[in-house]
Structure formats: C-alpha cells, structure tokens
C-alpha cells in the first residue's frame, strides 16, 4: 500500500491507455483528464484538433464510466496501471 502511494506521488505514475492496443502513459495526480486525453491522443498519433471527438472512460468496481475532463487524475481513484479507454465520443443530437 505504501509502495502504491509512493507511485502516485508528484513524480506521477503509469496508467494504460486502451485504443486498439494498450500503451502506457505517465500521469500526475494534479493533471486534468483533458490534459491526459490530449497526451493519449498524441500517443496514438491523433491530432489535438480532434479532441472533442474523443472521451476517456474507465472502470470502477466493474462500472464503466466516462471521465469528467475538468477533473484531475487525483479526484478519481485511478491507480497505477489502471486501464483507461480512449473512445470516440457520441455526437448526441446530430441527426
């Protein structure tokens, strides 16, 4: 537990971004999920101009939820090596 806490210190820790394949991404607790998303897009060669077309999702206790991008990594109980899915956003309302 102590080791896990240390991994989540200011040096940051690695999570796994899932997008067709899995890639590690180092994050910090004080980063917003929007910042994380931008770096995740870059990891997969997707332009930042496309950011509004993607969301981040993860599972907590088996419950898959979209992550609020205005919140920080630290505000969610995201742990080292947690899998975070980069998903295309659904354009609700477009007909």
């Amino acid at each position: 537990m102590e080791a896990a806490t240390e991994k989540k210190s200011e040096k940051g820790f690695e999570i796994v971004i899932v997008y067709g394949i899995n890639k590690d991404l180092k994050v910090r607790e004080d980063e917003t999920l929007q910042q994380v998303k931008l770096r995740a897009l870059s990891l997969f060669g997707i332009s930042p101009s496309e950011q509004n077309e993607f969301i981040l999702r993860t599972k907590f206790h088996g419950n898959d939820i979209p992550l609020d991008e205005s919140k920080t990594v630290g505000s969610y109980d995201i742990h080292p090596h947690q899998k975070v899915t980069l998903a295309s956003a659904t354009p609700f309302g477009s007909r």
Binding site: V18, Y19, D64, K83, S88, T90, P91
Partner: protein, 161 residues
C-alpha cells in the same frame, strides 16, 4: 490483390483491433467470411446489472471504400449462427440518436457516424470519406455505439432486447 481482398483485409484489421481490447470494452467479436467480404459481429453487454445486450452486424463489403452496413440482430445470434439474419426492430435501441423513418429504412436508424445508412442520399454531411477518420473507422464506430449503449440507452431503459 483484388478489391474484394483489400476490403477483407481492411475489415479484418478492424476486427483484430476490437478483438484485442474485447475484455477491456466488455465486448465479444466474431467474424464471418464470404467469398467477397467479411461480416463483423459485435456483442455488447451491460455487466452492471441490467444485463441488456446489443448485437451489431456490420457487413463490410467494399470497406473502406464505403462504410459498413449496420443491422442490430437478435443477441442470441452471436452464439446461434442460424439466427444471424434475424433482424427486427425490437433488437434496436430506442431513444437519443435513434430515428424511425420508414421512408429511409424499415428498421430504426442509428444516427451515429460510421455506418452506411447514416450517409445515404446525402442525409448527413460531411459524407463518408476513404480512408475514414480514425473516429469513424469500424473500431471508432463501435466505441461510439458502446458509449451510447452504456451511458444513454441502457440508463434510460430505452432498450428492448
């Protein structure tokens, strides 16, 4: 390589991407190969208690020259292949992003970019492009549908199957 073989290869790449992350996305995928094209089957299941399921049938003829055609079929068909032509309105979600328009299709239409009917007859702009943007690829389309499934259709109990 013939155009048919190229289309098959492109669709199989998307199938492999989905298969690799099936566990993370709580989806199961299957592939049926004909002489000229492949059909992907993607089964989504809400594992948070509702048990709702959605089975997408994506016919990938000429992919990515054209978007795959989409049908929602009996979820039992994922395992029972004799049911794979079993398309009925009750297997489609209801609610946001779903449209019923008999002039366009006898089945409900999913208003989410990435499948053929969405673009038919200039219904939506911009039109389908080849190669598609990443978020409109089959992989991207499935993740969009999955978000709608988990966050909206299941939540609103607007799902019949």
């Amino acid at each position: 390589m013939s155009p048919e073989e190229q289309a098959k290869k492109a669709a199989i790449i998307e199938f492999d991407r989905l298969k690799r992350v099936g566990e993370e996305l709580d989806i199961s995928v299957d592939l049926e190969e004909t002489e000229d094209y492949v059909i992907l089957f993607v089964l989504m299941e809400d594992r948070r208690g509702s048990g709702r399921r959605l089975l997408l049938k994506l016919k990938c003829d000429d992919y990515p020259q054209q978007a795959p055609s989409l049908e929602c079929i009996n979820p039992e068909a994922f395992h029972d292949h004799t049911l794979r032509d079993n398309v009925r309105a009750e297997f489609y979600p209801k609610g946001p992003n779903m449209v019923v328009d008999p002039n366009r299709s006898p089945m409900p239409i999913m208003c989410i970019r990435g499948h053929r009917l969405y673009y038919a007859n200039g219904w939506h702009q911009p039109p389908w492009i080849n190669p598609p943007k990443e978020q409109d690829s089959i992989y991207g389309f499935v993740t969009k549908v999955r978000s709608a499934f988990l966050d909206t259709w299941v939540q609103k109990e607007s799902f019949a199957a």
